[in-house]
Point group: C2
């Protein structure tokens, strides 16, 4: 496997070199060709997907997983349509982001360039195959894709359509490659493809992300885990708090920006908690709580220590009563996955303190955590949400897929 | 060791939290206090260093290593003086680098914040202890330092001076911590201090860097290895080429931005190579070469395959004759450590092609590779030179020691 992946890595490097010399119009041409090819081959892709769905049913995949796996003609068309949005985005490559003229006259320019080769390890979601390839091409990067095994037939069909389109344009098909071996060994080999993979982006469950972070020797952008908190302060507008908690918890519980924990100031907990709980009950949200929360809410189940660190991704929330904003901040900085956190308050000082002191990618005052998303933040598209601090933090748009180089134009200068 | 380092990590996190709330004046106050304390304690530090030098002599350290280890009163004062430069640099924290107002009215601001806790593993150079601590403090980060074992007495003295100064200001001494165990186990433990070390920066030889890159599970900024190339094109000004090669090779052969390889166009090699070699001979530079180079230069020794990938860090250079700029670019992209490369040419198209196609942190036309340096690039100071593509590439100044967070100020917004 390792040798096979090394060969893929070599081909990706060569393709990346070709991609890096394309201008914006040429890269958009590729995406336009993908768009046309997906519309033309939507039936072929949908029937490959039908085989995956059939296999998934036989293997007892849950209804939720089958839904994420489904890629029928309508969904292919919708993914193709999203390519037009990517075409419309500004090219992240070739922007001068800094530089000086050296006192000796050399012109030093810092300019954005593609990362090179991006590796993606992700779950069984065929749309990610298209989204990721499109963002990589737009940012001038070759991509090596390794999707979940349940989607292998869909992914083969999708990648074959893109490779044929590249070929027809006279460009290296290896700009987009699929790892067809979906064993654990192929993921491990990708994690150690130093010299070929410039950055590896894992997308998926906490287990996958943690395995990649612990084992990879190639540079990694950690994504996705979201143990998100909402803190309802003493001076909160409680009706607003109830709306925000309800939205953040129930509008889409399976995503990483959903709220998992509610912290509430002890001075308002007694009357505010029942109001918030009543609203959550309309969606059958299960509540676990610390001792004080359980004393207020009959229906709450006592929380265990591990609850505070758990991302439920379900209609479930853990509630803790705190003394003040400082205790809330300390609790969040201890247990959070550093994704998204909200304070609901009318107190200016507490709001500003929370924004500064909470060590997470996105920190909110009086708004739902659900807004942490490339589209909502104005990026037009995203390849994941980074919860690490190096390179990119929060939604990863096109700007997260480039690096910089220094170009220095001299006239014979030497260093004293 | 692991438990001890975990405790250091916890203390560093707490200190980082305190540091992150300081404003620029408060951080500069710390550096001012360090400055005064180093001047006051220069004798104490110098005598601790004298012990290291004595031990180093007994252990047979080379003259070059002993020179790098030496930290006498004059050098302590010079390091203290450099703190004033850091005080004068702009604060990298708290700059708004982006953001939008969401159509729903939320104000989304992207703002620079400290990374948190920085780990440094480095060689036996006491000045790095001061430089690294100063840059970390200025950027609001706590730092855990692990210097080479040969400098342990110097480092203990230096760090104790800084910790006392922090203490006297009523700030956590743990903003600056020293790992006193200089065994391999302590380095390994730092590589796996996930959750405490936000970024690990190794500085030193190729072996150390590679061990960290291969083994660390914490995020790493790879630094330093420099197999730098100069390509002399068909249309080069050969006198200029000779000056640039001479400067890049001999002005300081032991540093990472020194030139290690000379590529030269076949049409000029025959007469230009002897001129360049003659200049190098004045500094007794040993020349190895490919077949064509050896045919031109009597004194050249045949190069082995491994020569092309080797960073000599010595008065030695490998020479290869190439057909054209494309062959030079392909050779560089294959063998380079992606640090710094130069083309010497008067041909505009080849210059621009080289700038674009060479995949290195700093790419030059008609100037010495020796300029790749934070000071020369206008950063005022550097903590190393990154040869990786994530987060920061090239000299790592204060801007490389911060990350960003999104602050979102709302008025009750929820997501549809």
């Amino acid at each position: 496997m390792s040798t096979e992946l090394e060969l893929m890595g070599q081909r990706a490097k060569a393709a990346a070199y070709a991609l890096s010399s394309l201008n914006s119009a040429q890269k958009n041409n590729i995406l336009q060709a993908f768009h046309a090819a997906f519309l033309k081959n939507s039936g072929k892709i949908a029937s490959a997907n039908a085989q995956d769905i059939l296999n998934g049913r036989e293997n007892g995949l849950s209804a939720a997983l089958l839904d994420r796996l489904t890629f029928d003609v309508r969904r292919v068309e919708s993914s193709a349509a999203a390519l037009s949005d990517v075409i419309g985005l500004p090219d992240p490559v070739g922007r001068a982001t800094g530089g000086i003229t050296h006192p000796n006259g050399m012109e030093i320019t810092k300019i954005t360039v593609p990362l090179g080769v991006i590796g993606m390890i992700y779950e069984a979601r065929p749309n990610v195959t298209i989204d990721a390839a499109a963002l990589c091409i737009k940012s001038g990067n070759a991509v090596i894709l390794r999707g979940g095994k349940e989607a292998i037939n869909s992914n083969k069909a999708i990648v074959s359509v893109m490779r044929d389109a590249l070929d027809a344009l006279g460009l290296p098909a290896d700009c987009v490659q699929l790892v067809e071996d979906t064993s654990r060994a192929s993921a491990t080999a990708m994690m150690h493809l130093n010299g070929y993979i410039d950055v590896l982006i894992p997308r998926g469950g906490a287990g996958l992300i943690s395995a990649v972070v612990q084992n990879a020797s190639v540079p990694v952008i950690e994504t996705g885990a979201g143990n998100c908190h909402i803190y309802v302060d003493e001076n909160a507008d409680i009706a607003m708090a109830a709306e925000i908690v309800f939205n953040a918890k129930t509008s889409r519980p399976s995503v990483c920006n959903a709220c998992e924990k509610l912290l509430i100031h002890e001075k308002v907990a007694k009357w505010a908690l029942p109001l918030i709980a009543e609203k959550l009950r309309t969606k059958d949200v299960q509540i676990v709580g610390d001792e004080s929360a359980c004393a207020i809410l009959d229906t709450a189940i006592p929380a265990q220590e591990e609850d505070w660190a758990t991302e439920y991704l379900d209609y479930k929330i853990a509630v803790k009563v705190v003394k003040n904003a400082d205790e809330a901040i300390a609790h969040i900085n201890r247990y959070s996955t550093h994704h998204s956190e909200t304070i609901v308050t009318e107190n200016y000082s507490n709001a500003e303190k929370f924004l500064r002191a909470v060590d997470s990618a996105a920190v909110y005052v009086n708004a739902s955590t659900r807004f942490t998303d490339g589209g909502e933040f104005g990026f037009g598209a995203e390849i994941g949400i980074s919860t690490q601090k190096l390179h990119v933090r929060g939604p990863i748009g096109l700007e997260g897929l480039v690096t910089t180089k220094y170009m220095i134009r001299g006239a014979g200068q030497v260093r004293a």
